[in-house]
Amino acid sequence: MSIKTLQAELAREGYVADDRLAMALHLAQSLGRPLLLEGPAGVGKTEVARAMAGVMNTELIRLQCYEGLDASHAIYEWNYQRQLLAIRAAEAKGGMDEAALFSAAYLLRRPLLEAISREEPPVLLIDEIDRADEEFEAYLLEILSDFQITIPEIGTIRARSRPLVILTANGTRDLSDALRRRCLYTFIGYPDRETELAILRARMPGLEARLARQIVGVVQALRAEELEKTPGIAEMLDWAAALSGLGVNDLAQAREEVQATLVCLLKTAADSDAAPPEVMDRLIGKVA
């Protein structure tokens, strides 16, 4: 599969990927390496995994990282309640099989174990890896290099198929060099005007062309302003949905609606103050 066909298939899933991202995904598939995506919030890092799962027609398994994430939430845990019940039941009947107590039936599979025990290779999304702590990163590194997990009571479980691993990070903490070296890397920045327009068209096909151009123009101009939280693609799509929901079809004619729906784009008090009606009029004036 060349990168052009991959791009086309991603587009069918409603994801507009630029050449570099498509190339990185292609390499991740053909070399079997994890792909690390970095970039500001709301540029569609997580969405890549969903779209890839759609393209590969396979399942998406997601592991959301957080501080203090540990093995029993990421890899596996025994189902103790069930084990205790089984022991009681076995007592009543008399005679119990200890090996059965530590069998797959009593194992709770968490995302990482789940991902390597599928016949069909799934897409494994490890979201916001920089939120997990360093210990977990080291553990993850081990799994990503061998694709096998050892459970003392059962033994080593080897991957039946290699999942496509996509990691995302947005820089709350620097990742270790070791992890970076294991992964392919792509930085996803804010899209240019044409790309963003294509994304809006792919996501909201019913939107009028002029309004779509205006929305993208205003959001692009807003990104150039000094804001605390720069609006991402997700915010732009929210705003477009809000405007079309209100029946707006020309931004220049809908000052009130624009001000009322700015909550979709500007998420802090300081940012709202930075975009008073006059500023918005100026921005809309430029793109109308």
């Binding site: 050449d19 292609h26 390499l27 103790y80 620097d174 060099d177 070296r181 392919l184």
Partner: protein
């Protein structure tokens, strides 16, 4: 843009790829021999005859972070398309020192400090002719109050030093007493360790008799304290040195002094005689005198000690008045980098009323977005009050 003509001895693609990897390594990318093989494998997976595809494939494989990603095109062109090879040779030596250019604004401030700074004995420092006009109003307002509210620059006696140290110890305790978010097996703890209970119950016919527990083990934060001892801070230096000593004594702390240079003083601070240590260090500090290059020192700190001193459990405490000779943008950038390497970054400012003082305000507003907290430390009372702030961080 011409294609690079490789010397005849360079044999085939593998050799040139090794050269490219070496070229990237020279330019600061973290790549090694393993990447050479992987790069060749990656090229086999794409249309390698198309330069655009090869470029994108190698970028995905060889770049490690956003910075590498941004520079990759340039480096790629330099090697494969014969562009800018001369520039590449220059790169290592092209490190410019920025300290020499000092804005006009700072001149009077330095002159004043050179005359009055180094010899600042406790009684002289009281004079109130500070370098910061902005503090003047606040000084007058508090002088009538009790001793502990007086400006730090006036307090140099043993008692105040001891109290600064005590305040630091309280802060150190507040930082130290952190628990991990993970649970470990422990003899007593709030949660049952079902896994171990099940395991040992097997030896008793499935009867859970021995109850094992799990608790959150202590996971103390480390402190890295960076104290500004430039001319403008020299009146505060002793009290903050005592403060630093308290930190180093009570927590896992690492202390540094800086002005235009940076030095590690953790070991010197472990000296048991408070006053002797403080005097020795402030002598050392005053010996350097002169201006401050906060951003330069932060950069050097990260390049040198940073890798060892910083980590996911580090609280960085910068004690400085914010007078800086380098542009505020550079300070912002340095702090942004520091922020990503450390858990928390806190700035203690001994200058009350810095908001009114334009150059400081500019530096501080550049720093602000990258700090977890910016706290006043202009009186002993403020220092003591920091304990609560730190237990929240």
């Amino acid at each position: 843009m011409g294609i690079t003509r490789f010397p005849a001895r360079a044999e085939g693609l593998a050799d040139r790829m090794a050269g490219f990897i070496a070229h990237l390594r020279l330019n600061g990318l973290r790549v090694g021999p393993r990447e050479t093989g992987e790069a060749l494998a990656a090229l086999a997976a794409v249309k390698a005859t198309d330069p655009a595809e090869a470029r994108m494939a190698l970028a995905a494989l060889l770049a490690g972070d956003a910075e590498d990603w941004r520079r990759f095109d340039e480096l790629f062109d330099a090697y494969w398309f014969n562009a800018g090879r001369a520039r590449e040779r220059q790169a290592p030596g092209a490190h410019v020192r920025v300290q020499s250019a000092r804005p006009k604004l700072w001149q009077p401030h330095f002159g004043e400090e050179e005359s009055g700074g180094p010899g600042a004995e406790p009684d002289q420092a009281d004079s109130g002719e500070g370098e910061a006009e902005g503090t003047e109003g606040r000084l007058i307002a508090t002088r009538g109050e009790n001793l502990s509210r007086r400006d730090l620059r006036e307090l140099m006696d043993d008692d105040s030093l001891a109290r600064a140290e005590a305040a630091a110890e309280a802060i150190a305790r507040a930082i130290r007493d952190r628990l991990s978010r993970r649970r470990r097996a422990a003899s007593r703890g709030e949660a049952l360790d079902l896994r171990r209970i099940m395991r040992t119950s097997l030896t008793r016919g499935g009867e859970p008799i021995e109850l094992h527990r799990r608790a959150r083990p202590p996971r103390p934060m480390r402190v890295v304290a960076l104290l500004d001892v430039s001319g403008s801070m020299s009146v505060h230096a002793r009290i903050f040195l005592a403060f630093l000593r308290g930190l180093v004594g009570a927590a896992e702390a690492d202390a540094y002094l800086f002005h235009t240079r940076l030095m590690r003083v953790t070991d010197a601070l472990r000296d048991h005689d408070t006053l002797r240590a403080a005097a020795r260090l402030s002598l050392m500090a005053e010996g350097f005198g002169g201006g401050t290059d906060i951003s330069g020192c932060l950069e050097r700190f990260m390049a040198g000690y940073g890798a060892r001193a910083l980590g996911g459990r580090t609280l960085v405490m910068i004690v400085s008045d914010g007078y800086c000779t380098s542009p505020p943008e550079r300070l912002g950038a340095a702090l942004a980098r520091l922020r990503r390497k450390a858990r928390r970054v806190v700035w203690l400012n001994p200058l009350g009323g810095w908001q009114e003082h334009a150059p400081v305000a500019r530096a501080m507003s550049a720093a602000r977005p990258h700090l977890d907290a910016m706290l006043p430390a202009n009186t002993l009372e403020a220092l003591t009050a920091l304990e609560n702030e730190f237990s929240r961080l």
